[in-house]
Assembly symmetry: C2
Homo-oligomer: 393 residues x 2
Amino acid sequence: MCGTDGCLVKCSSVPCATPKNDTKDTSITINLDHGDPTMYESYWRKMGNKCDITFNGDDSLSYFANGKSLCWFLESKLEEQIKRLHNVVGNAIVDKYYIVVGTGSSQLMQAALYALSPTDQLEPISVVSATPFYSSYPEVTDFLKSGLHKWAGDARTFEKNRPYIEFITSPNNPDGVIREPVVNGNQGKLIYDLAYYWPQYTAITSPANHDVMLFTISKCTGHAGSRIGWTLVKDKEVARKMTKFMEISTIGVSKEAQLRAAKILEVVSDSCLDPKMENFFEYSQSLMTDRWQRLRQVVMANDFFVLQKYPLQYCLFTKDFCESHPAFAWLICKGGEEEDCQKLLKEHKIHTRSGRRFGSDLRNVRISILSRDEDFNIFLKKLMAIRGPTNEN
Amino acid sequence: MCGTDGCLVKCSSVPCATPKNDTKDTSITINLDHGDPTMYESYWRKMGNKCDITFNGDDSLSYFANGKSLCWFLESKLEEQIKRLHNVVGNAIVDKYYIVVGTGSSQLMQAALYALSPTDQLEPISVVSATPFYSSYPEVTDFLKSGLHKWAGDARTFEKNRPYIEFITSPNNPDGVIREPVVNGNQGKLIYDLAYYWPQYTAITSPANHDVMLFTISKCTGHAGSRIGWTLVKDKEVARKMTKFMEISTIGVSKEAQLRAAKILEVVSDSCLDPKMENFFEYSQSLMTDRWQRLRQVVMANDFFVLQKYPLQYCLFTKDFCESHPAFAWLICKGGEEEDCQKLLKEHKIHTRSGRRFGSDLRNVRISILSRDEDFNIFLKKLMAIRGPTNEN
């Protein structure tokens, strides 16, 4: 039966021409605004009790973790499994890096801004990112009207002879494109947001080794509810300041979430190394490949939308050429500049995020590809039914 | 053998004249700077597997919780158990209150400041608290140089005809005193920090029913490592803004931590209602009573220190008169104003927090009473050996 895991995996090798049948009511509203990664539930169900973790009443009462880490609240088990996974996947260098754990990577973005902002300046430092940029960057930078940093918009229009902090999101959220720094001034500090630099989304072309690199378990394994992110930091003083931010902001990070994350990452690494286990990244890549193939077919059959294209690249992890299959589709309405794609899709009961939120056009929307099967299938059915706003009356 | 739970409970009814014997090396440094609540481990060990909670690999992947709560990331099980416990203990009204969960109450302090700060003013609103105030308030208010709010120090010297936000900590951290608002201006917004308003620390004299009330599991059950706090909020718009803060700051709160906290609170309520279980608050109160009795004896025998005194009050929960047994001792050196109590104790390998950090004197220190038995016992031995700085040369 379609809509089950077995069928999805099968479809990844034998592309389906049309959305699969589903018994769910297709008249309901589908919310693909957030990147809620429930797609991954199927893999973790298959793992049965391999990831089970039990907490006793007397576990983890203390604020402090056991580790001797600079980040005093970081559980040593989590530190170990983060390093192991990066080594297994080959997507980042970990030797000689400090690890700072956070309540998701959102908190770490703020910790990084805090650590990299000069404290001896009268004016807040400018924070930029190239459009389309992750919609949260302006908000996390400015929501407290901080005197340390202020959002300065598109990195492409920033005057390079001033101090700045640039967010480089690669692959990019919302459009999945591989990115490099844009401003390239000599007074810049760079924060690499590598939340999507995992094999299910993109080719791993080299181990990243930037000064500050953000990761999150939400988009790696799908455990967004745990709120666990981490930063690999080269400079000790920056790591110390980020840790200080975490201390003031939340006095550390939930021990339960850290220890469970350690367990999950351990199983992911195991699955890559043990031929008897189903490789997490191969499984996830196959789901993503199938979804993108079906989405592209629907979009091609419909003359009203366009999707971003991605080059083939050699992946050091899969040891094969592969195309990107981003966590979000960056869909463009072919109409004029006044075309409001988010509004159009909302009329068809598909909630998405408008390009405007990413510093881009009304014609664009970001659509999550990480929903559960049944929602993704209904989404395709709804999308297939759209013939543009002119046909709607 | 002394230093075990049995002995402590026995000592609470039969006061010990001297610190108990302990096999641990007494030359080590004892850190009582933080209020790390490891004292509670003994109760939770006794509970065996009653609080066990297991997470499967496919649990809680989503950012969202199931509840229909305004606070969209709040687990409904936690909401239910928070309400139940307040009803069992009688320390706060919950009917018609919104609950906002946070990564510890530190994050909720910031969320409350965010929600209560006016957005239409050019100047940041003043934030005050009466000295001695919790040492984190200045830091959480000012660490991002926010344009929304700024720390304005002691509530007692604040001019009442201007807008302000006042933190009222009751029982107070650091000195355990029951508090009321101090400024009493007509442009004030009040945040009640009720972290210590539980029966083991103080008499429950009436159910609190203020507009904004902060609580934390760290000081209620001892599970500081979970980083779970909650706010009871009367006004819907304030609750909505606090939820928005949590959304931007960390996209919610760890589901594992919330679900485990729900389990722990459930067992605490059960222990109060089921005569076959050891009542959590009676047990904890007995530990605290014992520690305070022994501490007062050491301080009385030593002419150099003074401790805060507390009145007897009738407790609606225990249905008896009881004295306060705060989580911290507020110790005062009898010497002159230049006496640095924190420095003196540090020379005797006792780490405490200086009164200066609380807007108070160098003569004062805050000392955690919530350490493990062996550390508390060594602390008493070290304290007993001190005869004042003049005897030290």
